[in-house]
């Protein structure tokens, strides 16, 4: 160890010792009663330390509701940090103590109205919107509509977020809130504000696509200035709008494709995947390639979620990913889930020009990997790649047979046989069956001298039986040999031996001339052995064969026994796959509550609704807002009247007296607003 390293270790040691020492002194968690005393002490520092300790308690899950009164009385503290802790506490517990919570409104409003700092105003707005008492929703609405005109974008952004909170508290506020949100969506001073407004529209009012008509072109060109979290939420909403109102050729779709382009350079992987979804759902494959979507995706950190999304894209557009095949090569560090996902990707990208490289990779993996799940996936991948490139099938079969004959790992042998079965089954009847013939003969030989693992043996017997019509002599010989050692085999093998007998016999009944005359005898012997088997499944099967395969009518048996079995599949079943990109349903593989499928192309819109994206000189905030909200004047003024009718002081004084009234009105609100998004703009609230 070098000197420097020793010093580092020594330093770490000292630091951690100092830290644990200070823990002994400082870190003893304060009791609720001690915190109460500190909050009541009146000195700023004591209050601050008390609140800090309170939040340590909340962090480990302690219920601190009993301190509600002591905490909220500090709501007007001149210390920013103290106010934040009070607000955070209020946000957590306001619905437990609604009356005490209402007492804080006056103080919060004071900060909102008079604090010089936009951050402080923004935080106060959030605090007032987070009080979960429905009777104050109109006061919140008032605060929101005022904040929408604030000169600072920080406050206007907070205003967007408050709209989402207020709407989830009281959906009857919808029309008023949408009016304010529309003004913010068209905020021409700061694109970040319209980004947040768009995000809130997408999450709180997902059906109000019509609000995008006017600002569409401007939103497309200002996407790059949005906050990354607005981008992730807004992009799918914009895709939905585009598919509903436009057609693929619409120049306004092109605007979105252009506007989203810089987002492919985002460091946020969610933004990159959502941007890729824009090109996937709105653009042709040529455009998908033109905009270089694939390289941005393959360079993302390969987490399970990213790969799940990539799989959808690679399956649909394998050519776009062909150049990036090596990004899906396995690394010794991958876990088995990642390996399976990458191998599926590889099998999708395979074509005749890259097959040799892939075959070489897969051979190496089969040698390198040791766990069963990965080996299974490698063999399945190999089989699926081989069937895509008929010219190379023979080399794959040859390699598989070598592996079956000589590999010492039972998992690999069984899986190689499954792969072989897959490959052989893919060769259709009319194609030349030369590969199959030689493969079956080699397998027959392998049966003679080796100690194949039971499941491999069962698969081999199944294969021989499946193709006994093509290779009657081989099948008969295999059956003869296997019958001799039937008693020593495990159940799955015994069953396959008896089934081989049944398959052969049913073929024999159809065309006796092509088969060995001993076949009926062998079958009879197999049935005889099976009848005394200890395994009930085997006994049942034997009884079924006996009934089906009598000499008189064997058509049914022929149908059942000789029916072609579907080959095992490697690709993911389509029902796990039909979900939209970056949806929870895609990740878990089945439909979840609230899943929204992809909007079909509708072309329901009129381009004339969309305003041109003119660069507006920044004007005074108030004028731009009022201009945009002119036609919403009715609900806005109504809101003001309502608030005026109950001034805050009156409200607080009479809040207890009016309680019963409030309950009634909130019930009325609930019932009148069953359909949350499709309310009538002019309905009375």
């Amino acid at each position: 160890m070098s000197m420097a390293a020793m010093f580092d270790t020594a330093r770490e040691f000292t630091l951690s010792a100092a830290d644990s020492a200070s823990r002994l002194v400082d870190m003893r968690p304060l009791q609720i009663s001690e915190i109460r005393a500190m909050l009541n002490s009146g000195t700023e520092r004591e209050v601050r330390v008390g609140l800090q300790s309170l939040f340590s308690l909340i962090a480990n899950g302690t219920d601190t509701r009993e301190l509600f009164a002591e905490v909220v009385k500090n709501v007007t503290s001149s210390d920013f940090t103290v106010r934040r802790m009070v607000y955070a506490y209020l946000e957590k517990y306001s619905d437990y103590e609604p009356e005490l919570a209402l007492m804080t409104i006056n103080g919060i409003q004071k900060t909102l109205a008079s604090n010089q700092s936009p951050v402080a105003r923004a935080m106060a707005l959030r605090a007032i919107a987070s009080i979960k008492v429905i009777s104050i929703s109109s006061i919140v609405g008032m605060a929101i509509s005022e904040a929408a005109n604030d000169l600072s974008p920080i406050v206007r952004i907070a205003c967007c977020q408050a709209i989402a909170r207020c709407y989830s508290l009281d959906s009857s506020m919808g029309p008023e809130l949408l009016g304010v949100l529309e003004g913010l969506l068209n905020d021409s001073n700061d694109p970040a504000v319209s980004g947040w407004a768009l995000a809130v529209l997408a999450t709180s009012f997902p059906n109000r696509l019509d609000y995008l008509h006017k600002p569409w072109r401007r939103l497309c060109s200002s996407l790059v200035s949005f906050d990354e979290w607005c981008q992730t939420v807004s992009l799918p909403f914009m895709v939905k709008y585009a598919r509903h109102f436009m057609s693929e050729q619409d120049p306004d779709v092109k605007r979105l494709l252009e506007g989203a382009k810089p987002l492919l350079h985002s460091m946020n992987s969610a933004v990159v995947v959502e941007t890729a979804a824009v090109y996937f759902y709105l653009a042709s494959t040529e455009d998908f390639d033109q905009y270089n979507v694939a390289p941005a995706l393959v360079c993302l950190k390969q987490t399970e979620l990213t790969l799940q999304n990539l799989e959808v894209l690679v399956t649909a557009r394998p050519h776009s990913f062909e150049r990036y095949l090596s990004y899906f090569y396995l690394s010794p560090l991958d876990n088995s889930d990642t390996r399976v996902l990458k191998l599926r990707m590889i099998s999708n990208i395979t074509n005749s020009s890259n097959f040799s490289a892939i075959f070489q990779e897969l051979q190496y993996y089969s040698h390198l990997l040791e766990d069963g799940r990965s080996l299974t996936a490698v063999m399945q991948c190999l089989a699926s790649c081989a069937t895509k490139t008929p010219a190379k099938v023979s080399s794959v079969i040859k390699w598989l047979l070598t592996a079956i004959a000589s590999d010492k790992r039972p998992v690999l042998v069984s899986q190689a046989l499954m792969a072989l079965r897959f490959v052989l089954q893919q060769e259709s009847q009319d194609q030349e069956t030369r590969h199959r013939a030689s493969a079956l003969h080699q397998l027959g030989k392998a049966l003679d001298n080796s100690d194949l693992p039971p499941d491999a043996l069962a698969t081999t017997l199944w294969l021989v039986g499946e193709y006994c019509r093509e290779q009657p002599a081989l099948a008969t010989e295999v059956l003869r040999k296997q019958l001799k050692q039937l008693a020593q085999q495990p159940a799955e093998v015994r069953l396959q031996i008896i089934q081989l007998g049944a398959k052969l016999y049913s073929q024999y009944l159809s065309e006796p001339s092509r088969f060995d005359a001993r076949v009926p005898k062998f079958f009879e012997h197999a049935i005889y052995l099976g009848r005394y088997d200890s395994n009930y499944d085997i006994k049942d099967k034997v009884r079924m064969f006996q009934v089906l395969l009598n000499d008189n009518e064997h058509e049914l048996a022929t149908l059942m026994i000789q029916a072609r079995k579907p080959p095992p599949m490697f690709v993911r079943p389509e029902e796990e796959f039909k979900f939209t990109l970056d949806s929870g349903s895609l990740s878990v593989g089945h439909n979840l509550t609230g899943y929204m499928s992809l909007e079909p192309w509708g072309n329901n819109g009129d381009p004339a609704d969309r305003e041109d994206d003119v660069v507006v000189e920044p004007t005074a905030q108030t004028t731009s807002i009022s201009k945009n909200t002119v036609h919403r004047e009715v609900p806005m003024s109504k809101l003001k009247e309502k608030v005026k009718a109950v001034s805050l002081a009156e409200f607080l004084e009479s809040s207890s007296a009016e309680e019963s009234d409030d309950e009634e009105s909130s019930e009325a609100d609930d019932s009148s607003d069953a359909a949350d998004d499709d309310f009538d703009e002019d309905s009375d609230v």
Binding site: Q52, S117, W229, V233, M267, C299, T303, L305, G584
Partner: protein
């Protein structure tokens, strides 16, 4: 996102941040902590939970089924990045526990009504004062709210000494398919590289040789300066990035039109760009693995060499690890020209060369390995090292200009090139 939980490796809850009704800690422990990291778990038909493992810590985020899973994952990543930046180091259970109330406040700023809000480390540093500052007896000063014009940079930043440091850090991902000697003579049993060698085309060109680079800066500049970086190759053909990603401060239109990385940086350390590109050879260190060598074709040989380079003084922490199949019982050293060989576990031979290895140097290790009953060949070898002075892609900062400068003096500028190799394997 309904809440955020942090657990230690025993499943004890260290932090419980929730503002909306959320599943209980016990529920989360019993359902989620068994699942692999990075996975989305279905708790109920309308509730999911995302689990991310960080060292011995577990971050669990319950969320609605309407959530975009990628966004949750990206948020957890960003949360960890912010906490690391805030506490200036890796996170530990002790750190989380003793700073729980500070982290609760950071989370209050980072999440609003279940949606991510402010996730820029610099802004968060300004918003939430550290615990020690708040606790200190002498601190009676009132905390006032900070302000910002750019969402990643506080307003009114001042530094007495203006300086900017740029780090170009590249990590290499290399896969080399090794040469196979004596192709014609195959051992009868399937041992060693038999599978591979039957069809392997002999080629020393790497199958994969990929660079992942990061442009990191540590910016200590007064005001809101505009920094412009030019990324050029010292020699050779023009760099062609497979993909490049930028910090949100970077003006990507400047990149498209002029190839400039132009930005008003966040204060302090941050990553400005991240790129990926393919190169033709690994450069500084090369290695090969020979199988089935020796008189009885049951030996193997590993060779490692460093090439001459004027920009690099020495290679740091060079190590070669030779990996063998599970069945291996014994690894024998036949010849070792230099370095220390450790074969403590029967599956691995670690061959290391101390802190510094000179350039223009080579070493050889000849050995023999066997399982219970027969000789075995190595599966693959990995090479790891660090180097300061250049990057494998030969990229360099060819220009750095600062506009909108509020200070008189020319700021100190430092550029460092660093190579980190930990994903270099020879088959």
């Amino acid at each position: 996102m309904e809440s955020i939980y942090v657990f230690d490796q025993t499943g004890r809850s260290l932090l419980n941040f929730s503002s909306l009704p959320a599943p209980s800690v016990d529920e989360v422990v019993s359902l989620v902590l068994k699942k692999p990291t990075g996975s989305l778990v279905e708790l109920t038909p309308s509730q999911l939970a995302f689990r991310h493992r960080y060292g011995t810590l577990d971050f669990v985020v319950p969320c609605s089924t309407l959530v975009q899973p990628m966004a949750v994952e990206a948020f957890v990543d960003q949360l960890i990045r912010c906490l690391e930046a805030y506490f200036d180091g890796k996170l530990t259970a002790q750190l989380i526990e003793s700073n729980a109330s500070t982290i609760m406040q950071l989370l209050y700023e980072m999440v609003d009504a279940g949606q991510p809000r402010i996730t820029e480390p610099d802004i968060l540093k300004g918003l939430v004062p550290t615990k020690s500052l708040l606790d200190s007896l002498w601190s009676s000063s009132r905390q006032t709210a900070p302000a910002w014009n750019l969402r990643w940079r506080r307003q009114g930043i001042t530094h007495t000494k203006n300086q900017i440091f740029i780090d170009l850090v590249e990590s290499l991902h290399v896969v080399v398919s090794s040469q196979t000697k004596n192709k014609r003579k195959q051992p009868k049993a399937m041992t060693g590289s038999a599978y591979y060698s039957t069809t392997a085309t002999i080629s020393s060109r790497p199958l994969v040789c990929r660079v992942r680079g990061q442009v990191k800066i540590n910016c200590l500049l007064t005001g809101d300066p505009r920094v412009s970086l030019q990324l050029g190759r010292a020699s050779g053909p023009n760099a062609l990035f497979t993909s490049i990603a930028f910090h949100s401060s970077v003006d990507s239109t400047q990149w498209e039109s002029r190839g400039n990385i132009s930005f008003t940086p966040p204060d302090g350390p941050s990553m400005i760009a991240e790129y990926s590109l393919d190169i033709s050879d690994p450069g500084l260190v090369n290695a090969e693995l020979l199988r089935n060598v020796g008189a009885d074709r049951n030996e193997f040989e590993v060779r490692v060499s460093t090439s001459m380079d004027t920009t690099v003084e020495h290679i740091q922490g060079l190590q070669v690890v030779v990996n063998f199949p599970q069945s291996t019982r014994n690894i024998k050293e036949l010849r070792l020209t230099t370095g220390d060989l450790a074969t403590s576990t029967p599956k691995k031979a670690c061959w290391s060369f101390g802190a510094k290895t000179p350039v223009g140097w080579n070493a050889t290790f000849r050995g023999q390995a066997s399982s219970e009953d027969e000789p075995v060949q190595p599966l693959y070898a990995t090479v790891s090292y660090r180097a300061i002075g250049r990057v494998p892609s030969k990229l360099a900062i060819s220009g750095l200009s600062i506009q909108n400068q509020l200070f008189q003096e020319r700021p100190y500028r430092g550029v460092r090139y660093q190579t980190l190799v930990d994903n270099f394997s020879i088959r």
